[in-house]
């Protein structure tokens, strides 16, 4: 099944998923995604919802350049992620994509500022430039007084804000968030989602995976994935506004 999700006016989408199939050989062949197509316009905010095993994580991994499709094409900001070498995909992950994970995934022995600066290390920034950029970003997420703390000294919400700052460090074309509020309490979750709203307002392209309806509703539209297929694409707000 194939469905176009980009508005016709958007000639230069940030992400294009074109007829992507992903199969795993686990004894028998398991099809995690079956000929999925999707387009994320520049500056859009999209949520993916679906039950576990629906293929939403696989889709996220493919868009994030962590995995390659069995068939089809994934392009991020013009880079054909599916065709690139391992080293080139690593470079795309480091410069074009910012990941925010449910479990934060910060380096445990690096301080907040070092964690935020980590993507810039692999992109060849100088130490001074990295630290300056990392400090600015930590300041933006309200952690200016926590720059030299290691993750174990930070609360869950603070850790997720460090992770968001890290995702923003290389000024990526796309922010990928996998259940970003899954490991924090409701109030903190709301703060995190406010930050995503701010990022969207500032023009960032965001793709967020969640299983919570109220989280998904913060996005512009919700892509429902089921059994390896995109079932429906629901426009939030605009649909009710007409």
């Amino acid at each position: 099944m194939s469905e176009s999700a980009g508005s016709p006016a958007d000639a230069d989408p940030t992400v294009v998923v074109d007829g992507v199939t992903k199969q795993y050989a686990a004894g028998t062949t398991v099809t995690a995604l079956d000929d999925v197509s999707l387009s994320l316009p520049r500056g859009s905010y999209t949520a993916i919802m679906g039950p576990s095993g629906s293929g939403k994580s696989t889709l996220l991994n493919l868009v994030g350049g962590l995995d390659t499709p069995s068939a089809g094409r994934v392009t991020v900001d013009g880079h054909d992620v599916s065709a690139e070498s391992e080293a080139e995909r690593a470079a795309i992950r480091g410069t074009e994509i910012g990941f925010v994970f449910q479990t934060f995934n910060l380096m445990p022995r690096l301080t907040a500022v070092e964690n935020v600066a980590l993507p810039l290390v692999f992109d060849g920034w100088s130490r001074e430039d990295r630290r300056r950029r990392a400090r600015e970003l930590l300041d933006d997420v309200g952690l200016a007084d926590r720059v030299d703390h290691v993750p174990a000294e930070l609360s869950g919400g603070q850790r997720q804000r460090v992770a968001i700052a890290r995702a923003l460090a290389p000024d990526p074309a796309l922010i990928l968030a996998d259940e970003p509020t899954g490991n924090v309490d409701t109030d903190t979750g709301a703060t995190i989602l406010d930050i995503f709203d701010d990022l969207h307002a500032a023009g960032n392209t965001i793709l967020l995976v969640t299983h919570e309806r109220h989280v998904a509703e913060r996005a512009e539209r919700i892509v429902h994935v089921e059994d390896g297929n995109v079932r429906t694409i629901e426009a939030v707000g605009e649909a009710t506004d007409g």
């Binding site: 080293a87 290390v121 692999f122």
Partner: protein
């Protein structure tokens, strides 16, 4: 990737597991330390011997018998060089002095009621005692019951020996001989270089009346004193010629006829000794280096093992690094640097430890301390290499970690 950043990550990781890292580098420390110890000790002994021979023995040619088979060391000390041989050696061109040296077995030496058991007394001639080796007193007079002692011997009794002190030498057959100390010396001319190495308390006595090893001289046909070793003092500028002449004479000497046919009579100059001792030291050093290498291999296995554990423990970190743009070779670099750092740590700890033990060994053997700088540099390089080589496979495993699995890893 910025290698300083890799280094930072590696240092943090090692610090996070201090005990584990310390235990891991022990193998490398032992390997490096043992090599450094023996390299230092070898260099020190070599420097000492070369120094001794260079200082005082440049003109010495040592004449002695050496058996061709291995178990014949006792026969090397057979008294075969007769007085006739000594006289003949004196006639050779370029020879300045011939110093016969024999050993007098003494059961014990007594001063008052203090007894030192089993002393060895060297019998020689007054020529062996040069004026600049005399610390106090004078040399002994042939024919008299007089002796000189070295500085160690002078302080061996609770009451120091000086010129004029008397001692009682108890011979193995129980006979007691009263002797007078006439002087204290630093050493004697004509000692084998290996003899100078062990600075034992020593007593030197005149051949007459103490030395009693006698054989019938085949050339003279009469019974004469005979010595196991003779040192020829020659003009240092024409040592090779003199040595050749001595060797030619030895073929027709009394000693040749008195020695077993498989005993080779040799004339060795000081530099011959330096060469052969250097060879021995080199062989020992090589042997110990072999042991050190085994230790380093064990150390390398230890590092590889811990690095494999580390890769498993840090699978998630590898996933994070890859997610934020680390290429496989960046990940590999982080782990290689960590392994190399463990090897470096082993070197950095092993070198001073080896120097310390080596210094202790030189003090124990009473030789001057000399540094083996080339070995130290080599040890550090080898230590780092051991770490890096040990880290290759774990680092390769780390680089191949699938980021998706790694990020799910608990």
């Amino acid at each position: 990737m910025d290698s300083r950043e890799s280094l930072r990550i590696a240092v943090r990781s090692i610090r996070a597991h201090k005990l584990r890292s310390a235990l891991t580098v022990i193998g490398v420390v032992i390997g490096i330390a043992s090599v450094i110890t023996f390299a230092t000790f070898g260099a020190s002994v070599q420097a000492e011997i070369v120094g001794d021979i260079g200082d005082s023995s440049a003109g010495n040619i040592y004449v002695f018998g050496t058996p061709e088979d291995e178990e014949g060391f006792d026969r090397a000390l057979q008294p075969v060089f007769t007085e006739s041989d000594v006289d003949a050696l004196r006639e050779i061109e370029g020879v300045e002095a011939v110093l016969p040296r024999g050993i007098i077995q003494v059961g014990s030496v007594r001063q008052g009621n203090e007894t030192l058991a089993r002393q060895q007394v060297t019998a020689t001639t007054p020529e062996s005692i040069t004026s600049d080796s005399v610390v106090s007193g004078r040399t002994f007079t042939p024919g008299e019951n007089e002796i000189v002692v070295n500085e160690r011997m002078a302080t061996a009794f609770s009451q120091n020996l000086t010129a004029g002190s008397t001692l009682t030498m108890v011979m193995p057959d129980g006979e007691e001989r009263e002797v007078t100390v006439t002087g204290v010396v630093t050493g004697t001319r004509g000692e084998l270089p290996v003899g100078q190495f062990a600075r034992q308390p020593r007593i030197f006595a005149p051949v007459d009346p103490f030395y009693e090893s006698v054989v019938e001289s085949p050339s003279a046909g009469v019974r004469q004193r005979a010595y196991p070793q003779v040192t020829v003092v020659a003009d240092p500028r024409r040592i090779p010629d003199t040595k050749a002449d001595i060797e030619a004479f030895l073929a027709e000497s009394d000693a040749r006829q008195l020695s077993a046919s498989d005993t080779e009579l040799v004339a060795r100059s000081g530099s011959d000794f330096v060469d052969s001792i250097s060879d021995v030291i080199e062989q020992i050093t090589r042997f110990v280096t072999g042991i050190g290498v085994i230790s380093l291999v064990v150390g390398a296995i230890g590092i590889a093992n811990v690095m494999l554990v580390s890769v498993t423990e840090r699978t998630r970190e590898i996933g994070i690094m890859k997610a934020v743009g680390a290429r496989n070779r960046d990940v590999m670099g982080v782990f290689l640097i960590e392994a190399g750092l463990l090897g470096t740590l082993g070197s950095v700890l092993g070198v001073p430890l080896g120097l310390l033990v080596g210094y202790g060994a030189t003090r124990y053997a009473d030789v001057g301390f000399a540094l083996a700088l080339d070995w130290m540099a080599l040890a550090v390089v080898v230590g780092i290499l051991v770490g890096v080589v040990a880290g290759l496979y774990p680092a390769w495993r780390a680089a191949r970690v699938d980021p998706i699995d790694a990020l799910r890893h608990e």
